[in-house]
Symmetry: C2
Subunit: 215 residues, 2 copies
DNA sequence: CGGATCCTTGATGACCGTCAACGTGTGTGG
DNA sequence: CCACACACGTTGACGGTCATCAAGGATCCG
């Protein structure tokens, strides 16, 4: 699709939707790598040798079945940290969704990050387990509602949500097909719950209705 | 259902199906609590103040929706550690499935367990994310196959698997109803893939067939 | 402006949930 | 030791939800 580009550049944080968490090692300078849309940050089976903090853009973490079915287990946006799924070897793929800048913190070799990583791992664990409830026990409307609420919350609970990812990504995150995602969006529009300014920019008109659906 | 019983007794490990992991604090003696079937170990909303190691028996971790739908996110058996879902406050319930002994390691108050907890949290994270793939992208047969393979692996890959949990628990773990679980078991019997010695004791006759299904 | 990708909408059917009835296993008390 | 009762599990009939297949429309890029 896209060739992987991993240029080492120093960039300021452009879209800090969320205050970046404190740098694991404080004042030490760490390189920012730039990834073009669709390019791979790491692959399943690779040795995990760093953790990554999103400076701008968005990242998807996913796994594949042999026949190509894909499950996105998490999205990560500006300020969020990822890269510790799997102790030694990555069990997942990480890809840039858009043009994305990622700050790299090399792990191992003396420095001890476990104090910083534990809370991040626990947060990831909680998120994953909450997502299990969505995939295991909620229907299509409830899944989309939960997704929109989560996106809204992570963007500061504004009325406007922008979705950096495609419908395919949303479907593969929610365990649905893109057609079902699209139909649910249409139904939510009909009901006056949301409004689409563009394909990837959504306004939430009735937050309570969403909450009632997403539980 | 059952009254909660939490008697502080010292018990030897009875069913060490798996070698217990090293005690987080080595030589210090820690109490073993006994829980009767169905009794609560901790509840959603409680402050997390300990981690727990299963001595014998089995534990289910789950979450509920308002209308009672339940999603079991994990089972834990002898030798396994749980209790760190949620940083400060538990976001989940933990219940004993059978008569279960649990060794309690209190957290906080000086002692620093983060070095011990991080690998456990990462393992839990990986398991949860793998389970996301099952719930999001696999059909009923594939889910049950994956479940049986996981159970077999955690019991040392013997031909005989014993399931400490009910069909309801299996259904709530796999995002299926008990009827569907039952039907899949029957189909696997018809195909000669498994054999039921009793309701909760299963013999795997064709491991390869299971692998082909569970991916 | 043109082409490709992404998204939407419709028709159809498969899979699995629901409801219901029956079978099986387990524990208790007579 | 047997009888009974209750929880658990199985099987069948049916319907709803969502996947699949297909076509057309919107959007974005050069």
């Amino acid at each position: 699709m896209y060739a992987q580009t991993s240029i080492q550049i120093e960039l300021p944080s452009v879209f800090p939707r969320q205050a970046p968490t404190a740098s694991p090692e404080g004042s030490v300078a760490h390189p920012v790598s730039f990834f073009s849309p669709g390019s791979e940050i790491y692959a399943q089976g690779e040795k995990a040798k760093a953790v990554y903090q999103v400076e701008f853009g968005a990242v998807r973490i996913y796994r594949l079945l042999a026949d190509g079915r894909r499950q996105i287990s998490a999205f990560h946006f500006a300020g969020e940290t990822f890269g510790f799924e799997g102790d030694i070897t990555h069990h997942f793929f990480a890809e840039a969704i858009n043009s994305t800048g990622v700050r790299v913190f090399r792990v191992g070799s003396g420095t001890d990050l476990s104090h910083h990583l534990l809370p991040l791992a626990l947060k990831g664990l909680t998120r994953a387990q909450e997502h299990l409830l969505v995939l295991g026990r909620q229907n299509a409307i409830e899944r989309v509602a939960a997704f929109l609420l989560d996106m809204a919350e992570r963007q500061g609970d504004l009325r406007q949500i922008d979705l950096p990812m495609s419908r395919i990504d949303i479907g593969d995150y929610l365990g649905l097909t893109i057609e079902t995602v699209s139909r649910v969006f249409s139904r939510l529009k009909e009901k006056g719950v949301i409004r689409l300014h563009s394909l990837r920019r959504i306004e939430v008109l009735k937050r309570d209705a969403l909450r009632a659906m997403g539980e």
